[in-house]
Assembly symmetry: D2
Homo-oligomer: 158 residues x 4
C-alpha cells in the first residue's frame, strides 16, 4: 500500500479522533488497531450483547465492522478539509461469526478524487487462529470542504 498518497500528515490522529466520536463503536466495544495509509484494522471482542439467535456474532455486527473498516481505510487518504460518506457496500458472509473476537481489515483498492473503493475482510478469531468470516466491497464518496466534526448536526434526543 506504499503507493497511496497521504494528503494529511496527521491522518492517524484524524482517523483515531473520528473513530472515537462514533458512539456506536463504543456501544459494541470495537477497538481501532493499526491505522496505515489506505488501511485500518478493527477488533471487536465477543460479548453476550452482540449475538444473533444462535449465539454467534450477529451479521449486522459483521457488516458494521466491514463498513467501518472500509470507510476509515478511505478516510486515511483524505485531505484535512474533506470528509466522506458510505455510498454502498456488499458483503458475503462465508462462515459463521464464531469466535472470541472479530478482526476486520479494511484496505483501499482504488482511491479516487470523488469515489474510493475498498475491500474489507472480517476474520473470526478462535483459540488464537483466524478464520475468514466475511468479505466486502465498499464504495465511499469524498465530501470536499466538509469537516468531519459533529457540529453540523443538531442533538436529536435532547
Amino acid at each position: 500500500m506504499s503507493d497511496f498518497q497521504v494528503r494529511n500528515p496527521n491522518y492517524i490522529e484524524r482517523v483515531r479522533e473520528s473513530f472515537a466520536r462514533q458512539s456506536f463503536m463504543t456501544t459494541i466495544g470495537a477497538e481501532l488497531l493499526d491505522v496505515l495509509p489506505g488501511g485500518v484494522d478493527i477488533r471487536l471482542p465477543y460479548h453476550d450483547g452482540l449475538c444473533q439467535q444462535h449465539g454467534y456474532f450477529h451479521g449486522g455486527v459483521i457488516g458494521t465492522l466491514a463498513d467501518n473498516a472500509g470507510g476509515y481505510a478511505a478516510f486515511s487518504l483524505m485531505a484535512p478539509e474533506d470528509t466522506l460518506l458510505t455510498v454502498e457496500y456488499k458483503m458475503n458472509i462465508v462462515a459463521p461469526g464464531d469466535g472470541d473476537a472479530l478482526i476486520t481489515r479494511g484496505r483501499v483498492l482504488r482511491p479516487g478524487r470523488t469515489l474510493t473503493v475498498c475491500r474489507a475482510e472480517v476474520f473470526a478469531v478462535k483459540e488464537g487462529r483466524e478464520k475468514l468470516c466475511a468479505t466486502a466491497l465498499c464504495t465511499l464518496m469524498t465530501l470536499e470542504g466538509q469537516e468531519d466534526t459533529p457540529d453540523r448536526h443538531q442533538p436529536k434526543t435532547g
Copy 2:
C-alpha cells in the same frame, strides 16, 4: 405478497421468538413490528449510542436492520423444521440516517427451496415523515432440518 406459501402456520410466533433471542436487537433497541407472509417491519428509535461521527444513525446500524428485515422476511416462509443464514447482502445508502427512528421493511422477492432473495428498505422517520435512507438486496440460504434454537452453540464467554 399473498401469493407466497406459508409452510408454518405458526410463522408469526416463530419469527417473534427468534427475533427475541437476538441479543443484538436488544442492545440496539430494535422492535419487531408487523410480521407478514414474506415480510417483516422493524423499528429502531434513535438514541445516543447508535451514531457515527456526525450524530446520525451509523451505517452499520442501517445495514443491521436491512440484513435482519430481509432475513426474517425469508424466515417467515420457512418450514418449522428449517432455519436459514445470510449468504450476502448489498446496500446502497441514499440519504443520511437522520431521524427520530428508522423503519425497515423487508420483503421476499423470490422464495426458493435453497435460496431466497429479499429486498429491504430503510426509512428515516423525522417529524412523522418517512424518507428513504437505504435500499438493500439480501440472499438467504435455507438450512433444512436445523432448528432455530440456541442449543447448538456453546456459551462463549463462560
Copy 3:
C-alpha cells in the same frame, strides 16, 4: 416517476442517440423501447449467439441489460452538458434466462447531483408471459461538463 425533474427537454432523443452509439447493443441485438423521465425499457430477442453452456441467455447478457437499463434510466435525468459512468452494480439472478426474449426495466430510485441509484429488473418472456429473471441495484456517477460524444476517445483498432 412523475416527481423526477428532467433537466434536458430533449432527453428522449439524447438517450436514443447515445444508446445507438453503443456498438455492443448492436452486437447482441438489443432494442431500446420506452424512454421515460427516470426510466427506460430494453428488449433483447433470443438468438443462438447469446447463450451459456445450457442454451439459456448467458448471465453476462442479463447483467449487460441490467447495467444498461439502470444507466440510461439515470441518463434520462442528466443535464444536456453532463454524462455519466457506471460506478458499480449488483445483480441477483433468480431464475434461468429461459425465454424468447429478455425485457429489462431500469428505474431511478434516487437521483442525486453526483450519484444516482437505480433498480433494474430483467424478465424472461416465454409464450407471452413475463417471469422475473434478475434484479439489480446500480450506482451511476454524473460527470459534469463532459459531453456524451465519442470524440474524446481515440480509435483503438484503426
Copy 4:
C-alpha cells in the same frame, strides 16, 4: 490456491469443454487462458463491436468476463456429476475499459458444498501494461447430480 481440493481429475478439460459450449463467449471473442484448481483467466481482445458510447469496452462486457471467470473458477472444483449456476455478483468498475484487451482473473475465495464465493478482477491491457478496471464478488451454487450438458434444454429458436 494449493489448498483447494479438486474433485474431478479432468477438471481442466471439463472447464474448457463447457466454456467452448458458451456461444456468447464466441460472439464476443473471449479466450480461456489458464485453468487452475479454483482459478481461471480469460482474455478478450478489443474490437469495434464491444463498445459503449465512448468507444471503451462496454460495462456489460466487463461484467460478463467477471461473472464467467468467477463461475469457471468455482466450476474447476466441482465433482464430475455436478454443475453450478450464478446466484449473484457485484462489481465495481474502477477505471474505464480502455485497452487493447481485457484480462480477467477469477479465483475461489471460499469453496462450499452448496455455495462458492469467488473474486474476479478485470484488467485493461494497454501497451503491454495491466491496469485494474473492475473488481467483483460472485456467489455460485452447486447443482448436485446435474450434468453440465446442453441436452436438458430444448432449442428455442426452432
